[in-house]
């Protein structure tokens, strides 16, 4: 697999299948691990970094996974390609923006990614479409076990897996579920969800993580506590709140359909219309309109467009993706034109897309 092969495809986790996939976009689990015999990265010089990268590169490449794995040398990569992988959710911003020896192993379906020399020596991530945290855990646990056969992780009986940042120590696990919550945003009920989740120590943030606004009404819910609970307990705590939030979102969608069907239908149709006809459009507006359209499909207000297509458009209209698709560097204004053009093409031919 070459990086450029990814440009026209999308990850399996965007298929829009799996339990509750109308509201749950994806489930994700990541584990933070460090090698016992090396300092953490903030105290590793270039040579040490390279040594860690060489070792983990080897072990990651040797992994036998259900899907073939490709290892990419992030240090040698162009900035555009690195940002492309961030938009793709395959590497973090930190791995994109840092310097020195580092890399990532990616499975062909984009369900598995293993980041080497991120904040920790190793960050393993497994993604699934829909609500499928158990599947994520089963797979990541297995990957972790096979790596642990080869290397000695930094681990203490008292504090578990030792990580560069104390917020990850213990299990080193981050369990996240990405939800599409347009009705809760529209009715401003989302604030209540925020508050309720904060009280039980769960974090809520937008699509592209840190500090970013919840673009396109996507919210990622994840655990904060990593110490003193087992992985399954932590997964359970995240998993337990999801049905309530889904129920809440469904309730408000139904109420909107019941009480404001015409307004809602109008809003959704206009959004679809703009996306199909605009000549220039920003990323924010695109996300906002795609969000309306996505909800419109789920409510049966739009019937000639598929969810996977919309899921893919959220990713493919991001800046680095557009530039990869157009095969050239584009200024922000040029991107807006290219984005509108791409949307017109894709939405005109959406009926042919599987």
């Amino acid at each position: 697999m070459e990086l450029d092969d990814l440009t026209h495809t999308s990850g399996e986790w965007l298929r829009g299948t799996g339990p509750e996939a109308d509201i749950v976009i994806s489930s994700r689990i990541r584990l933070a691990r460090n090698l016992a015999q090396f300092p953490f990265l903030s105290r590793s010089d270039e040579a040490t970094r390279a040594e860690i990268e060489g070792l983990l590169h080897q072990h990651v490449s040797d992994l036998r996974l259900p899907q073939p794995l490709t290892y990419l040398d992030v240090q040698k990569m162009e900035e555009l390609d690195r940002r492309f992988l961030v938009e793709r959710q395959l590497i973090s911003r930190e791995l994109c923006e840092s310097s020195g020896a580092r890399g990532v192993g990616i499975s062909s379906g984009e369900n598995v990614s293993l980041m080497v020399n991120e904040e920790d020596h190793l960050r393993i991530q497994v993604l699934r479409s829909g609500l499928a945290l158990e599947d994520c855990w089963e797979e990541i646990d297995r990957i972790d076990d096979s790596l642990e056969d080869k290397v000695t992780y930094a681990f203490s009986e008292q504090l578990g897996y030792l990580t560069a940042c104390p917020t990850n120590v213990g299990t080193g696990i981050r369990v996240s579920v990405m939800l599409h919550l347009p009705a809760l945003v529209m009715t401003k009920e989302i604030q209540k969800v925020y508050q309720a989740l904060q009280k039980i120590h769960l974090a809520v943030r937008g699509l592209y993580g840190e500090g970013s606004q919840a673009m396109g009404d996507f919210y990622q819910i994840s655990n904060q506590v990593t110490l003193g609970k087992s992985e399954l307990e932590i997964i359970g705590e995240v998993k337990d709140v999801i049905p309530q939030i889904i129920g809440y979102e469904r309730k408000y969608r139904e109420a909107l359909v019941k009480e404001k069907r015409r307004d809602l239908h109008d809003q959704v149709s206009r959004a679809y219309g703009i996306l199909r006809t605009a000549q220039t459009i920003s990323s924010e507006e695109t996300m906002h309109l795609l969000s309306s359209v996505r909800m419109g499909i789920n409510l049966g207000l739009i019937d000639d467009l598929e969810i996977p297509t919309v899921n893919e458009l959220f990713i493919h209209t991001q800046p680095a993706h557009l530039q990869k698709l157009r095969n050239s560097a584009l200024e922000s204004g040029e991107r807006n034109v290219a984005r509108a053009c791409y949307l017109r093409e894709r939405l005109a031919s959406s009926n042919d897309v599987p």
Binding site: F40, L159, T167, T171, L227, G228, K229
Partner: protein, 156 residues
């Protein structure tokens, strides 16, 4: 396995628990990769002290760790152990791992973790005056301690 003097240990912890409960709950924790905001108060004198506390392995001082929010090496968790307790408790509410253990770790460490977790549950039960629950936990702890000390706790 030696018997731990339960009463004294419990009461110290209970006191701390009560103190912590009265404090406003920590603001929503930073996103992964964000700096840890250490909520320790320190005067100049104390800062000088913190500078002296240095990891022999990687050379990071506790003060440097405080300003960066990142450790230098795994050994720092041991070197800064005392100072970290409050911080970890603040972030996680807990100080003892009880999740996955690498296969190469000592085989009965899982049981040790269970034991320590049961003790923390016992402390909570006592604090909440759930005496039936506390009695049940006490029995469970005693049984597990006996099993461990007799070596019948076969690793699984």
């Amino acid at each position: 396995m030696k018997q731990v003097p339960h009463e004294i240990h419990l009461c110290e912890d209970c006191a701390q628990q009560y103190l912590n409960q009265d404090e406003p709950s920590p603001a929503s924790e930073p996103e992964e990769g964000m700096m840890v905001k250490l909520q320790l108060d320190a005067g100049d004198k104390e800062l000088a002290e913190l500078d002296k506390n240095v990891c022999p392995n990687c050379g990071i001082s506790f003060r440097e760790f405080r300003s960066q929010g990142r450790f230098g090496c795994p050994h720092d968790y041991v070197v800064f152990g005392d100072e970290l307790e409050a911080l970890l408790e603040n972030i996680h509410d807990e100080r003892q791992h009880c999740g996955k253990v690498p296969k190469r770790a000592p085989s009965d460490s899982q049981r040790q973790y269970q034991l320590i977790k049961l003790r923390s549950e016992l402390r909570k039960a006592v604090a909440e005056e759930s005496y039936e629950e506390a009695a049940r936990l006490r029995d469970e702890i005693q049984a597990m301690e006996t099993a461990l000390s007799q070596g019948t706790g076969d690793a699984d």
